[in-house]
Amino acid sequence: MEESVKIEAKDFNAYYGKKNALKNVNLKIYSNKITAIIGPSGCGKSTFLRSLNRMNDLIENFSVNGELLIDKENIYKKDVDVIYLRKKVGMVFQKPNPFPKSIFENIAYGLKIHKLYRDNDELHQKIENSLKEAALWDEVKEDLNKNAFDLSGGQQQRLCIARALVIQPEIILMDEPTASLDPISTAKIEELIRKLKKQYTIVIVTHNMQQAARVSDYSIFFMQGEMVEYDVTSKIFTTPSNKITEEYITGRFG
């Protein structure tokens, strides 16, 4: 089966000041697949993830060269609308970060700033749909006005996923989405991620190797800013072809 390329990096470099955080990265990420990025802390995996929705723009002294294409468009080209890019490329963070507002308001925010609804009915409908998509609806439908902070950690993270989904992105970036959750919440989110694959292209950064092995179709191993190995996940975790990858995933590092 020919897979369609959603994201492509061509000789992509990223710098924090003078520090070269990503070195000549060349890779392709495919539509409707879950791609995991693994590697030791500081290997550039988060930098790469945050380059995909230009979240790194918020950091002073951050610069890039080379190309980073989404749907064949270089997202670092001068005339790119970052707002539109971020609408298309949603993100879920390491720690659940709902707004200190009601569940309803949390999800409505994205719809409001992008003016994605015509009337109140549509607003409610879209919020309900996204909560259902994020497998949270049944737990919160009774009280959408409850403060998001009163939810459990796992529920908060699913709320954040619902918040990202409601504006209908095409790509979802996940930065260690279960790092602060217990195993049961983690399992729920992993199940959700697998389900979301049908409609979205998912890129997930994780420190949890078993998680990468469980949820992803492809795995990318980064090390010191370079892409060391990229392969089908089952191959990476049973028979990696690179010695460094092997050392990393078997925990024999350094």
Binding site: A213, F237, T238, T239, T250, G251
Partner: protein, 219 residues
């Protein structure tokens, strides 16, 4: 960095080596009992099969423990899962050895005129294989393991030759038939031991390279 996990992997390796050397000893004794018509030695081999079974259980349990404790990946995962398979093969070799010892008892009581000298040759060849397997598992050396797979073919040839000799022996005299059948079964068992050793060698290649060479006709 010395890790607990590495220590335990070494321990696992040590256990499988002990099991291999035990099986090696039993096999040698079983064949000796057959050739020398030594009923006592044969009985002893039969009794010691339990030790092999104990090793099998111990190694199986330990492998499961390692899997659940460390959730290994890549080479560690291949090593442990392959050891589980190798464990199974070694245990089968133990069973086959016991059967040979049992047959040695029967054949001794049948008083056949002579035992074909080729049996001893096959036995020596198999012991060489077993040593080779042990050595290649020691440092997970796929090249060494591959030569063992080639070796298996010469044993197959020796088996066919010995089979003919025994057939001739049985045709000489009707009274030889019963002992002859037992002898054929014994060498068949030896031949199957060689097959199991080949399996083990293939597993060693898998541990090292991550690719299965089973079911590939040409190596």
């Amino acid at each position: 960095m010395e890790r607990k996990f590495d220590e335990e992997l070494q321990e696992l390796k040590k256990m499988i080596f002990e099991m291999l050397s035990l099986v090696n000893e039993l096999m040698e004794n079983a064949v000796t009992a057959l050739i020398q018509k030594n009923e006592k030695l044969a009985e002893e081999v039969e009794k010691r099969d339990e030790e092999v079974d104990d090793y099998e259980n111990k190694i199986d349990k330990f492998c499961l423990e390692l899997l659940v404790k460390y959730q290994p990946a890549a080479i560690d995962l291949r090593f442990i899962t392959s050891i589980m398979k190798i464990n199974n093969d070694v245990e089968r070799i133990g069973d086959l050895t016991t059967t040979i010892a049992h047959k040695a008892g029967i054949i001794t009581r049948q008083h056949p005129a002579e035992i074909p000298a080729k049996i001893n040759e096959i036995s020596k060849e198999i012991q060489k294989m077993l040593k080779g397997v042990t050595a290649s598992l020691m440092d997970v050396n796929p090249e060494k393991a591959l030569t063992i797979c080639v070796n298996d073919r010469s044993i197959d040839e020796m088996y066919v030759e010995t089979f003919r000799q025994i057939m001739a022996f049985m045709m000489e005299n009707k009274l030889n038939v019963k002992a002859g059948i037992e002898l054929i079964l014994s060498i068949k068992n030896l031949e199957r031991i060689a097959d199991h050793l080949t399996n083990i060698a293939e597993d060693i290649v898998y541990i090292a390279k991550g690719e299965s060479i089973k079911h590939k006709k040409e190596i």
